[in-house]
Symmetry: C2
Subunit: 487 residues, 2 copies
C-alpha cells in the first residue's frame, strides 16, 4: 500500500470550483466543479453497468469532448483504464483487448463499428460513450487514491514483438505532474494546450497536470496550426506539448512573427530533433524545451531547462528532480544505453514478470556531456555496425532531411561483404523534386564521416510508421521489395 | 519500502549549481553547489566519528550559520536527526536525549555547556559543530532517499504529560513542500525568509522547500523586524513565515508603508489570530495566509488561499491538495475535533504504538463553514464547560487583547459551584496602565455572550509559556498562587 491522497478532481472542484478546467477550441467551457459533477455522473453510470474497483475497461476514441470526463469517471469508478490507439486495425485492437483482459469497451460513435469488429469474438460488453446512463443516481465512488493502485494501461508501440501494456499507477501520473511543475514552475495563469491524442501518455499527462495543479487546459480534436496560434496569441495559452513535425508546421505557419511574452513553454518530445529546427524556433522566441520520455516513464523524465535551452541545443536536458538517469558507459560523451529510475517510472507490464533491476533499461542510446546533459542518439536495436564503428541512423536522417527537397528520411543497415553493414537511405521527396545523388553526396561530404554516408539511396512515396506514428526502420528494406514488385 | 528519489541537494547542485541556496542576513552567500560540497564534507566527518545509516544524532543549536549544512549532512549520513529546542532546561534535554536513544550530540559553541550537563549521565558522545572533522576524505554517503525512511524527530511541546518524539520521514517533509507549492505556485524568483528556529517544523520546512524547489532562502539568527523589512523591500524576499507576535511587530515597525508588489506571502501559523491584526495587515498590502498545522503534519496542512484571504478573514483555509481534513461534528459550523490525513502526516511517535486510525486526531477544535473553510477554535483540553455551554478560551483572549493597554491575555476555567466552571482572565498590561475592571466589563458587553465573560481578572507580570513559546493555560491558576505567596 502506498500513500493515500484525495481524488484530485474533488479537490480542484473544492478549491477552484469556478475556474475553467477545460476550454474546447470552439470556446465551450467546463469549470472544475462542472467537470467533477459530470465525471461523477458518468462514474455512477459505470457502476450501474457493473464496473467495479479494479474492473478493466477500455476506451477507443479520438479527442472527443466527452473523453476527459470519461477518463476522470474511470478513476471515480476505480476502474483500470486501457487506452486504445485509434489508428490500430481491428485485429491489433482485438489483441490488446484480449491481452489486457478487458471486460467493457467504450467507444466514440465514429469508432463503434471498429470496436465491434475488434471485440466480436471476445467476452466484452461494448457501449458508446453516449450510451453510459447519466441518470443512474448516486452510488459509492472512490474518493481517494492509493498511489500504488493501477490507473491506466497503454500499449507500447511494439516495433518488434507483440505490444506490451505499460501499467501506470496513480502515483506514476501524480509524480510525473509534480516533477514537471518542479522543473517549470507553477503560475496561477498557466494554461496548457492539448493537441496530442489523450490515448498517448504525452496527451494524457496534460489532463493529469490539469487536475493535479488546478490548471486550465485548451483541448483540441485534431492538430490545427491556425487554431493553436490563435490560442497562444489570443487566449493566453502558456504551454504546448508537441512532436517535431508539429513544431515544424507551427513555424511554417508563424512566418516572421514571434511568440508573445506570456508563452512559457513548447514542450518537445518524441525523439531526436534536427538542430536547424531548434534554431528557427529560438529566432521566433519560442522557448522549446526538448524532452526525453516514453510511455514507461509516464511522459517526460528528462527536460532541458530554460536557462540552458540555447546553450545546449539538441540536448534533452537533465533528469527531473525526482528522477535518476544513467548512461551505461564508462565516461562522458561515450554512448551507452539509457537507464532510468524514479517514482514516475512504471514498475511492470501487464501479465509479464516485473524486472528486479533497480533501473529501467529504456532501449535507447545516448550520452551525457561534462555537465550531465543527456543527448539521445538512437534506439539500441537500430544501430548499424559498419566496419566496427557504431553508426546511428537518427544522426544520418537528421542531416539528410536538411537537404533541399527532402521531406523525410529513414536510414537502416543493409548487409555488406566488406563492412558487415552499411547505411541505406530511404527518402521521401517534395513533389516535382528532381533527385540528384551526386549533389547529395557533395552535400554530405563535410557533414558526415565517410563511414556514415549511405551506400545506396531509395526514393519512396512514404516511410513505414507504426500506430504511434514512429518510424519503423526494420521495415524499410521491405519497402524496396514492394517497390520492386510494383515495377 | 517507499518510492526512492535522489538526494535533493545533489539534484539542486546539478540543476542550479550557481544559484544562491542560502543568504545570511549579513550578506554572506552560499550556492547550491557550495552547500552540497560543504554538507558532504560534514557527512564524511560524521562517518569518521562513527555515524552510520540509522544512527540517532541530536542537534542543540540556535540558527547558526553551520546549521543548514549540518542538517543536510545528516541526510547524506543517513542519520536520524533529533532537533532539540534550545529553550529547554538540561533536565528536559536529558529526558529527550534518553527517550530518543541518541548516540551523538552536536551543539553550537554557546550551548556546549548545556549539552554536557544534559548528557552527563547518558552514553552519548558530544561534539561541537566545529569539532566535526572536515578533512575525513570521501566516503560512501546516501545518494538517494527512500521516502519511507525516518529523517527527523522533533518533540511535541508536551503541555501535558511527557513530550513525545514525532518521527518525520523524508516523504513527510517532501510531501509537505510539494503540497505547499501546489497551493502557492512556484516562481523562478521566489525567495523565502527564515526567521523561525530550524528546530521547529515551521522553520525546518523552509529549509526543505529550498532544496525541493531549488529556492533561495534568507536565513536569520534571531527575529529582527528591521532586517526583515529590509529583506522584503531591498533584497526581493517573496515569502516569510511568522507567528502572530512577529506579524504584530512587523506591522508596528512598518508604520504607514505598504509591502511591495513582488511580496507574495506572509505565512502565518501557530494558532488563532485576532481579526483586527489581519485587517491591519490587509490595509498594508500584506498577503497574510493563515495556516493550520503542527509538528505532526510537518508544518501547514490547511492554508487560506490567496483568492479567499480577505473574504474569509480568520479562517485557516482548506486542506492542502494531498491532505484530507475532517471536523468530528454532525454539520457545518458545529465545533468538533479536527482530524487529518495525508502523506505529510507523521505516522508514529518514537517508541509508542502506531495508531490504527485512518485519521490523526489533532486534539484541536474547529468548525467548517458551508464552503469547507476551517476555523480553528481551541485545544480540546482547554475548553471550559460552563453551565453546559462550551466556552473557548482563545475566543475570549482574542477580545481581551484588543482592549487598550492589554499586551496579552490568558483564560482558563476555574471551579464554580453554580456553573461547574467559569472563565478566569489573566492579563499582562502595558507599563503605567491603570487597570479598570468596570471599563473592561462595559467593553465586553456587546462583544461576548454573558457566559463567556470572565468572572475574575488577575493582572500578572507574564503568562506561562512552554519551550515552544505556547501559552500553557493549565498553569495560569498556579500563577496566582505564586503571586499570592509573593505578596
Amino acid at each position: 500500500m502506498g500513500e493515500k491522497i484525495p481524488h484530485w478532481l474533488d479537490k480542484q472542484a473544492e478549491t477552484n470550483p469556478n475556474k475553467t478546467a477545460i476550454r474546447q477550441s470552439d470556446g465551450e467551457i467546463v469549470t472544475f466543479k462542472e467537470l467533477r459533477n459530470e465525471s461523477r455522473q458518468i462514474a455512477y453510470g459505470l457502476r450501474g453497468l457493473g464496473v467495479r474497483k479494479g474492473t478493466h475497461i477500455a476506451l477507443l476514441a479520438e479527442n472527443h469532448k466527452e473523453v476527459p470526463a470519461f477518463i476522470h469517471a474511470s478513476s471515480y469508478a476505480g476502474a483500470v483504464l486501457v487506452l486504445l490507439n485509434t489508428r490500430l486495425t481491428p485485429a491489433e485492437l482485438a489483441f490488446q483487448l484480449e491481452d489486457a483482459e478487458v471486460q467493457f469497451l467504450f467507444t466514440s460513435n465514429s469508432l463503434k463499428g471498429r470496436g465491434e469488429e475488434a471485440s466480436q469474438h471476445l467476452p466484452i460488453r461494448q457501449y458508446s460513450l453516449e450510451e453510459i446512463p447519466r441518470d443512474a443516481g448516486e452510488s459509492d465512488v472512490e474518493e481517494e487514491f492509493d498511489l500504488d493502485d493501477v490507473y491506466t494501461m497503454m500499449y507500447t508501440s511494439g516495433t518488434t514483438g507483440n505490444p506490451k501494456a505499460v501499467m501506470h499507477t496513480y502515483g506514476n501520473h501524480w509524480h510525473s505532474a509534480i516533477s514537471s511543475a518542479l522543473n517549470m514552475g507553477l503560475h496561477e495563469e498557466d494554461q496548457w494546450l492539448v493537441c496530442l491524442p489523450l490515448f498517448h501518455v504525452g496527451g494524457f499527462s496534460i489532463l493529469m497536470k490539469s487536475v493535479v495543479y488546478g490548471m486550465t487546459i485548451e483541448y483540441m480534436g485534431t492538430f490545427d496550426e491556425k487554431i493553436i496560434q490563435e490560442a497562444i496569441f489570443e487566449r493566453g495559452i502558456t504551454h504546448v506539448s508537441v512532436v517535431t513535425v508539429m513544431l515544424r508546421r507551427l513555424l511554417d505557419h508563424l512566418g516572421e512573427a514571434s511568440y508573445p511574452e506570456h508563452f512559457r513553454c513548447m514542450l518537445l518530445g518524441g525523439g531526436p530533433v534536427p538542430k536547424p529546427l531548434l534554431e528557427r524556433a529560438a529566432e521566433r522566441r519560442i522557448p522549446v524545451f526538448q524532452t526525453y520520455g516514453m510511455t514507461e516513464t509516464s511522459s517526460q523524465i528528462a527536460t532541458l531547462d530554460p536557462s540552458s535551452a540555447l546553450r545546449k541545443l539538441g540536448s534533452a536536458g537533465r533528469p527531473l528532480s525526482t528522477a535518476q538517469l544513467l548512461v551505461d558507459a564508462e565516461k562522458e560523451y561515450e554512448v551507452g544505453e539509457i537507464l532510468v529510475r524514479g517514482p514516475m517510472v512504471s514498475k511492470k507490464y501487464y501479465n509479464r514478470e516485473a524486472s528486479d533491476e533497480a533501473f529501467f533499461r529504456t532501449g535507447d542510446l545516448g550520452y551525457k556531456d561534462e555537465e550531465g546533459f543527456l543527448y539521445v542518439v538512437d534506439r539500441v536495436k537500430d544501430v548499424i555496425i559498419s566496419g566496427g564503428e557504431n553508426v546511428y541512423p537518427a544522426e544520418i536522417e537528421s542531416v539528410l532531411s536538411s537537404f533541399p527537397g527532402v521531406i523525410e528520411a529513414g536510414v537502416t543497415g543493409i548487409a555488406n561483404e566488406k563492412w558487415g553493414e552499411v547505411p541505406a537511405a530511404f527518402l521521401v521527396l517534395e513533389e516535382h523534386t528532381l533527385w540528384n545523388q551526386e549533389e547529395m553526396e557533395r552535400f554530405l561530404e563535410d557533414k558526415l564521416a565517410k563511414y556514415k554516408r549511405p551506400h545506396v539511396y531509395h526514393i519512396v512515396p512514404e516511410l513505414p510508421r507504426n500506430a504511434s506514428n514512429k518510424l519503423v526502420r526494420r521495415r524499410l528494406p521491405s519497402l524496396v521489395e514492394e517497390h520492386k514488385d510494383e515495377c
